[in-house]
């Protein structure tokens, strides 16, 4: 899995405590930068109604879906209660120089 790192963007393209959409080969991901400057990645679509999470709000380690405010911990993918009950898939992320990479296997 780790042998297929894919370059996403340079680190400055995502603000701290923010999220960016990343599309790759027909799949869509959400890439996060936490308030303490670490990077994370999850599937791009909410597990409730397939809405792009990158339009949502990041607060601390939580991403909130823009559609009905379903919340996930983007570090673990855990769904944090109604209306979302299915967890988000997460993906490994690494920083090489100023570039953010994810491994989507």
């Amino acid at each position: 899995m780790s042998d297929s790192w894919i370059a996403v963007c340079s680190r400055d393209e995502i603000d701290e405590e923010d999220v960016m959409r990343f599309d790759h080969e027909g799949r869509t991901f959400a890439i996060y930068r936490s308030p303490d400057d670490a990077f994370f990645a999850t599937d791009g679509l909410c597990t409730h109604e397939k809405i792009h999470l990158a339009d949502g709000l990041v607060m601390d380690e939580v991403i909130e879906c823009p559609k009905h405010n379903g919340r996930f911990n983007y570090k673990t993918g855990k769904a944090l209660g109604a209306p979302v009950c299915v967890n988000l898939q997460t993906y490994p992320v690494k920083l090489d120089g100023d570039t953010v990479y994810i491994a989507i296997g």
Partner: protein
């Protein structure tokens, strides 16, 4: 508690409350009684998608079984004997009684009807349930003419859905504009323009002098003299809370089952939550408290959680900011907070067809924010506005108006 907790009304609120009780560790008997034959399902998709593959469930049957929630579907509560602490139920097995220690009423609301409408009306209908939705699908197709009465959210969502499915659509609104309740005029204007562009004929100030049903459709006569022939007439003129059960048991009613800040009715063993109840808002700047009844999906969930806590003896209060959304075509509208008469309105333009209107009271406090835009263009900012409203923030109006200022920076301020 030997008889345990009984919840009457297996909709969004009742189902969420049942799960919330278990999540809070309640282990006693728990029964969810619902008049509909379906497992509890989401109503918002009914007007937006008219989905063919059955209702979208709040939770699977397995989830209820795992949580130890006894479901009594297709069963109506007909009476509450508060002395005996028992419900009179009517279902497939005839009349039965069910004892309770604590009771939660989540009976929701039902569509307001026009005079003369009955259950038997085939071509003049309303939409509240999955069965109602299933009955609409035939008319929502090419070659059909659907007439919607009422320019509120449900009517407009149905207009969009019917157009997207190829039907011709006419929407009649008695007032001078659509969305007169709760949506600022300039936003309603964007919605109206979009519907016109999509081919919906909107008639405002429309009065109806006759509405008659015949085999295959219905005829409408307008005050203007025009006659409309419809394959289906859909009436979306608001909802009335289901209070009859509570009223017959002598509970206080005030535009809904009247509850206090803890969602307790006038009987300390009976609670009410969701669309059926009216509750007091925290006192405003002038010290007076308003009572409101909300018909909104997230409110149903939040009050379900609050009711669960208080059914188990807590004294928690409701502090959340009301929030509502509507989808029409690719436009999403979101409203947070409750606008008040005399609010100052600050406009933030966010590109084509996207804007937010912030409402500030006389002291500059943010009271509400209403946004519209394609997809989720305004969602994040409405959410931030909601947090500012909750904090009692007094944001700088110039900063609010400038889309270059990030709202997140105002939240911290």
């Amino acid at each position: 508690m030997a008889a345990g907790i009984v919840i009457v009304g297996a909709g969004e609120c009742g189902a969420r409350a049942a799960f919330a009780l278990r999540e809070r560790g309640y282990q006693g008997p728990l029964t969810l009684v619902g008049a509909e034959r379906h497992l509890p399902y989401e109503r918002p998709p009914l007007s937006k998608a008219l989905s063919m593959d059955g209702p979208k469930l709040v939770a699977s049957l397995d989830a209820y079984q795992e949580a130890g929630i006894t479901l009594m579907l297709a069963t109506e509560a007909r009476g509450i004997d508060r002395q005996a602490k028992a419900l009179r139920l009517a279902g497939a097995d005839g009349e039965t009684t069910l004892a309770y220690d604590r009771l939660l009423l989540t009976t929701g609301a039902r569509p307001r009807r026009l005079p003369g409408m009955t259950d038997a009306s085939r071509y003049i209908r309303t939409l509240r349930t999955a069965d109602d939705a299933a009955a609409l699908t035939q008319a929502f197709s090419a070659g059909q003419h659907v007439v919607l009465i009422g320019g509120g959210f449900i009517g407009l969502e149905l207009a969009a859905t019917a157009r997207q499915r190829g039907a011709a659509v006419t929407l009649l609104e008695a007032g001078p504009r659509i969305l007169a309740r709760g949506v600022p005029a300039e936003m309603a204007e964007i919605v109206a323009k979009r519907h016109s562009a999509e081919g919906v004929r909107i008639l405002t100030g429309a009065t109806m002098t006759a509405l008659t049903e015949h085999e295959g459709g219905a005829e409408i006569k307008l005050g203007s003299g025009e006659r409309l022939e419809a394959d289906l007439v859909l009436v979306g003129i608001g909802a009335v809370p289901n209070v009859e059960l509570a009223a017959a048991a002598g509970l206080a009613i005030d535009n809904g089952i009247a509850v206090d800040r803890h969602l307790t009715t006038s009987d300390p063993l009976i609670f009410a939550a969701g669309d059926c109840c009216s509750f007091p808002l925290p006192p405003g700047a002038d010290g007076t408290s308003r009572r409101v009844r909300l018909e909104a999906w997230r409110n149903a969930q939040e009050q379900a959680a609050l009711a669960a806590a208080n059914l188990l003896g807590e004294q928690a209060v409701h502090a959340a900011v009301p929030w509502f959304w509507s989808d029409q075509y690719d436009l999403t509208l979101q409203v947070a907070g409750l606008a008040q008469e005399g609010d100052r309105i600050v406009r933030r333009d966010m590109g084509a067809e996207a804007l937010i209107l912030f409402h500030l009271d006389s002291e500059g406090r943010l009271t509400a924010a209403a946004g519209i835009g394609p997809g989720n263009a305004v969602a994040r900012d409405i959410r931030l506005a909601e947090m500012m409203i909750a904090n009692g923030a007094r944001p700088d109006p110039t900063a609010l108006a400038s889309s270059a200022t990030k709202l997140k920076s105002l939240l911290a301020a």
